[in-house]
């Protein structure tokens, strides 16, 4: 029996695809990276099947790439080493909603917007909902360190995880956090170091997430947008630092920063738009939102900022309203592919980031460029959006993005949304990479889990 048949036999009731036509769509995610070519796609029906497949894949030394919605842009699901793609969208049950503990437990393949519908009658939400919510899965987003709505309050999805169930390469299932002691999910740290953290943002390299427990939060009853225009990115950065330092983001459910070029593209009738715009979505009770709005506008004045409704009217209100979750960067630049690279930085890096995007725009006009920032509880995430044509510019776009990654590191940014796009940068940090390699060797000695992701090399 060949390896495909051996693995397929482990998912009765699931789907097993080997026809080359079936495998085509599983070669890539939304990233600029070249697609891979798997020899098998499996769609397990439950966690036990996932664990069985991993155990067998380890014995057979077959690479395994776990895939949710395939909507991420870091290349983590591209099967560059071949092998099997595990489509986890079949693990799609919401297992438990516990308002008392404030925890929801879901299988890894649950999509965010379907979870939101389940939570709506409870008046609850989870802490982070990414812009890919209609297609992204909880497991995939946890694997990739998702951010989005909720980041100004809760930083990233990883911070909202109470515990996990993970299938390990040896075929066992591991519960983390308080659930490891059979007490269910109510506490992240239990019995020593944070083992949950090992698997957050790990891009499936140390284990495959099959279940996740997340904190619940009261869903805001009122949402309102506020756009603030600043003289330049440096003043906007000082404002954001001020907000974060004073912990004034309690009512801010989403925040994003826009360079002047982006503002000018949307607010066509303002001949002199602000140098930088911060868009905020406030949420809470009406009184909380009104109070927060006044406070935020007043504080902006200290940093040469002002209320800037035109950007809200032209773009941000639609983005956060009816357009929220719409794959906006794709929609706005229809006809070209979008390569995205995300990095994390302190607020003070904002001006340098904006300047760098301007430099790339001027020096590499064969591509379209945009820079965006997402506000977090501390620091910001900076997104470089590079628009290119496939297939003509594909190779050049990959090379250019690799150079952009090096220049972002030089600015003091660090990798975010790792996958394969930051592999080189991760491996360049010797102590960090060495520890990752040791963890990899311990948890995945055959090196079958997500080969190439994070650039980890299993020491021989």
């Amino acid at each position: 029996m060949n390896w495909q048949d051996q693995l397929a036999a482990l998912v009765p009731g699931g789907a097993a695809l080997t026809d080359p036509v079936d495998l085509l769509a599983y070669g890539r995610d939304t990233s600029v990276l070249a697609p891979g070519s798997a020899g098998l796609v499996l769609r397990p029906a439950d966690a036990a099947q996932v664990a069985a497949v991993l155990g067998a894949a380890t014995r057979l030394k077959v690479p395994v790439y776990a895939r949710g919605g395939g909507s991420m842009y870091a290349g983590g699901v591209n099967p560059h080493a071949g092998g099997v793609v595990l489509d986890l969208s079949g693990l799609d049950r919401v297992l438990e909603v516990d308002p008392g503990r404030g925890v929801v437990v879901v299988e890894a393949g649950v999509r965010f917007t379907r979870l939101a519908r389940v939570l709506e009658p409870y008046g609850q939400t989870i802490g982070i909902v990414p812009l890919t919510a209609p297609v992204g899965t909880l497991g995939g987003a946890i694997n990739a360190h998702a951010l989005g709505t909720g980041s100004p309050r809760h930083q990233s999805l990883a911070d909202e995880v109470v515990g996990l169930e993970v299938a390990l390469a040896d075929g066992t299932l591991l519960a983390t956090g308080s659930a490891a002691f059979g007490a269910g999910h109510f506490f992240r740290q239990a019995g020593g170091p944070d083992l949950t953290g090992l698997f957050l943002g790990a891009e499936g390299t140390l284990g495959v997430i099959t279940k996740a427990a997340l904190w619940l939060h009261p869903a805001p009853r009122v949402r309102q947008v506020l756009c603030l225009g600043f003289a330049d990115p440096a003043h906007a950065a000082l404002y954001l630092e001020d907000l974060q330092r004073r912990e004034l983001l309690g009512c801010v459910w989403y925040g994003a920063g826009y360079e002047q070029a982006s503002v000018r593209a949307r607010v066509r009738d303002d001949p002199d738009p602000p140098g930088f715009v911060v868009g905020l979505e406030l949420g809470g009770s009406q009184a909380e939102v009104d109070g927060a709005r006044d406070r935020l506008v007043e504080l902006a004045g200290h940093w040469q900022g002002r209320d800037y409704p035109p950007f809200a009217q032209a773009y941000f209100e639609a983005l956060r309203g009816e357009q929220s979750h719409w794959y906006t960067f794709a929609g706005y630049f229809a006809g070209r592919r979008t390569a995205i690279l995300m990095a994390s930085m302190p607020c003070a890096g904002l001006a340098g980031f904006v300047e760098a995007v301007g430099r790339w725009r001027a020096a590499h006009a064969e591509f379209g460029w945009a820079g965006a920032t997402v506000l977090c509880r501390r620091g910001v995430h900076a997104a470089v959006l590079m628009f290119y044509d496939e297939p003509a510019q594909w190779a050049a776009a990959q090379a250019r993005l690799a150079q952009v990654a090096r220049e972002l590191l030089a600015l003091g940014a660090v990798p975010y949304k790792s996958g394969k796009v930051w592999g080189e940068a991760i491996q360049a940090q010797a102590p960090h990479a060495a520890l990752l390699a040791r963890l990899k060797a311990a948890l995945d000695p055959a090196g079958v889990l997500g080969p190439g992701n994070l650039g980890i090399v299993v020491p021989s």
């Binding site: 036509v21 769609r43 909507s71 379907r114 890919t132 209609p134 794959y327 496939e390």
Partner: protein, 383 residues
Amino acid sequence: MSAAWPELAAFERELYACSNCGYCVDGAWPARGLDGPCAAWNQHARAESVTGRGFLALGRALHEDAALADASVAERAFACTQCGACASACPVGLHPHAIARAVRAGLVARGALPDAALDLRQALLTCGNPWGDDPATRDDWSAGLVPPGAPDLLLWPGCAAAHRAPAEARAAWLLLARAGHAPAFAQGEPCCGAPLRALGMDTDAAVLGAGVAGPLAQAGVPVVTPSGACAGALRAAGLEVHSVIEVLAADLAAGRLRLHPHPGAPQRVGVVDACTHARPTGPGPDLPALTAQVLAAMQCQVVQTHAPAFAPCCGAGGGMAQLHPQSAARMARARAEALAAAGAQALIAGAPECAVHLADHAGDALPVYGLAEFIAAHCELSA
């Protein structure tokens, strides 16, 4: 451009503009009425090769001369209902279903069709309907009806209404007549070619369409049809075509027709809009909205589980009912059961091709009607 697949040349920009986001596969945004737009993913196979993202990947591979077996390509390309929900869901404005149709056309050119597609073609060409029903029975729906001497429009029922939903065809004619129109009706009509176009058989479709358009044009009046598929084919042949829904809505708005629901008539009705109505390929009236208006005139509340633009196909389209009957049946049952669970007391299908299929497979979930049929069955009419 691939010499082997010239049909894909027109889609080159789209093939490489796909951002791979996955909305077309299983996008879920319940607040906007989007919750799993792809009927084939939902009910036929959990393989992306039968979804919009899969057809774009397949199109790219074929365009780049990838060596893929025709039989494998055909099995996936002919598992699409051609409903266009993927195009509605696409944030980038692509048309994956059109790429699937182009692949079908390529397979036609290569003579690489599944047997079921060839059988369907045979039925359409020889009998003028996909079921192989005796063409001599096509006009039975109009028994006893007297065509007017000076018609102001011509009712084209289409094969689904004429052969399998005669009550809908007859009710449409009666409603038009009660509203003061003088509706002629086509007799001895052959197939308009619409199902053949969905199969990628463009030459056959064009021949049939031209054959129908000539005599209809000679009538010198607009054509009115309950069928969304026929409307598209007849318009493509150069005729002025209106939907029965559009005409009824106008008649109601102008007071030319008044509806008086019977006591006990269903008050909560689920609507399955025809994909051709919900996702039109050109400008025209908003037929789902007009359907709701017509039903409101009957004091019916419309129950919907999806926004019309994103609703997954009932399984009637794209040859699905003939090529993959079990999957098509599951698609119909899923729509009916979802509407029943949402509180609908009856299911109204916006086009007879959908009504026939839903009636065949909805089981005991809900009674199924065409719109005209529902009105005629549950209303007194006055002008």
